[in-house]
Symmetry: C2
Subunit: 206 residues, 2 copies
DNA sequence: TCTAACCCGAACACATCTGTTCGGGTTAGA
DNA sequence: TCTAACCCGAACAGATGTGTTCGGGTTAGA
């Protein structure tokens, strides 16, 4: 710990200014990690370095460990989700319609990151992974709760389960697309239709 | 290759009769593999041997490689699913009702094997994993097709996607249960309700 | 009882990955 | 131009896992 890892994330006034080529390397590495993890959850540091077109030593000079690299990549993905979620109107329309919008937005991001999820779960462990998703998932949870009150979302099933359903279908759509069984163009619409049906109040409950 | 691995699966007339203690070891190993993989997808051969209460050498004498062991364990799991699926009346009642029964049955099996799936995907790879599931999934696919004809299952979404939805929700229920966010007692009912809603014809399609 | 089948710990060869060090080359940027 | 920051291949130490061999002990089962 306590490396002079001055913060890969820009924005804050980084006191030790990095040279432009270093900045370029870091970007290439993060990008490569995304690509590498997409095709193989066990991608090694050597794989990633090769994909990024940098030396392994360079990689280690920026990210002291494999875990920290994953951490950074995950942080960017989650940040994207958070940003997208924040931009969606959650208060205005009926919950079910808002939900459809949220699902579409999440899909945009997920489509970018696809199987990163699997890799991250393995390295970071399910708990820490869950922690990362907690914030966006809580947003969805709140939306579901509102819907359960205004009657546009079913109230006969636990809220946590409904959130898990959304999460699960989102990732299912990602892997079906990846596998070529679902066309990327259809995915968003199909996904939205399925989520809405699953979360709508049951018409003739048994 | 070409080991004298006379076939761990009984049934066929195994020419080299195994001694009773060997049979016992094999059972213990398969059982242990199930337990070990449940808690850690990366369980080593040493872990499994320890859990089974046998020596590592003994393990290797029965299963020449980690992969073959996984293969065998998976085969048993799939066989269970197949058996359960075969016992369910698929022809009689309307497709949607039959589907509910199928989901419940699959859940019984999945509840036993839970996170074996994750481990198997990692070792066997997604394609071979998919191949294993193809048969049971085809059964569900046929059922969905029938439902799309008799009108009890929605026809506005691709059949493959509906099958994927079932598959995905099944595994979501497994991990939610594992995580303690869904009580084992509720799981079957909650799952069934969700699948039925997701696959029922949309009442007021957009 | 007797023997082949089985069990098993110890130790080995081999592979692979992580993270580090060394030493020299390249380049951004003042 | 000049130098600190950066890049990088080679090579190392250390950890961990796989699959095998050896040599001796135990037990099923005829």
């Amino acid at each position: 710990m306590a490396t002079d890892h001055t913060g890969v994330v820009p924005g804050a006034g980084s006191r030790t200014r990095r040279r432009a080529d270093a900045e370029r390397s870091i970007t290439a590495i993060v990008e490569a990690a995304l690509v590498a993890f997409r095709s193989d959850a066990d991608a090694t540091m050597a794989d990633i370095a090769r994909t990024a077109g940098v030396g392994r030593v360079t990689l280690y000079s920026h990210f002291p460990s494999r875990e920290e690299l994953l951490e950074e990549v995950m942080a960017r993905a989650i940040e994207d989700v958070r940003a997208v979620l924040a931009a969606v109107p959650v208060e205005g329309p009926p919950a079910r319609d808002a939900l459809a919008g949220v699902v579409r937005s999440c899909w945009q991001v997920l489509d970018r990151y696809r199987s990163l999820h699997a890799a991250a779960v393995r390295v970071l462990g399910p708990e820490r992974m869950r922690a990362r998703h907690d914030e966006p998932l809580a947003t969805i949870g709140a939306l579901v709760e509102r819907g359960q009150h205004d009657g546009t979302i079913r109230a006969d099933l636990p809220r946590d389960w409904l959130v898990a359903t959304v999460y699960s279908l989102l990732h299912a759509a990602a892997s079906e697309t990846e596998a070529g069984r679902l066309s990327p163009g259809d995915a968003a619409g199909v996904l939205e239709a399925t989520v809405v049906s699953a979360l709508s109040p049951a018409p003739a409950a048994g």
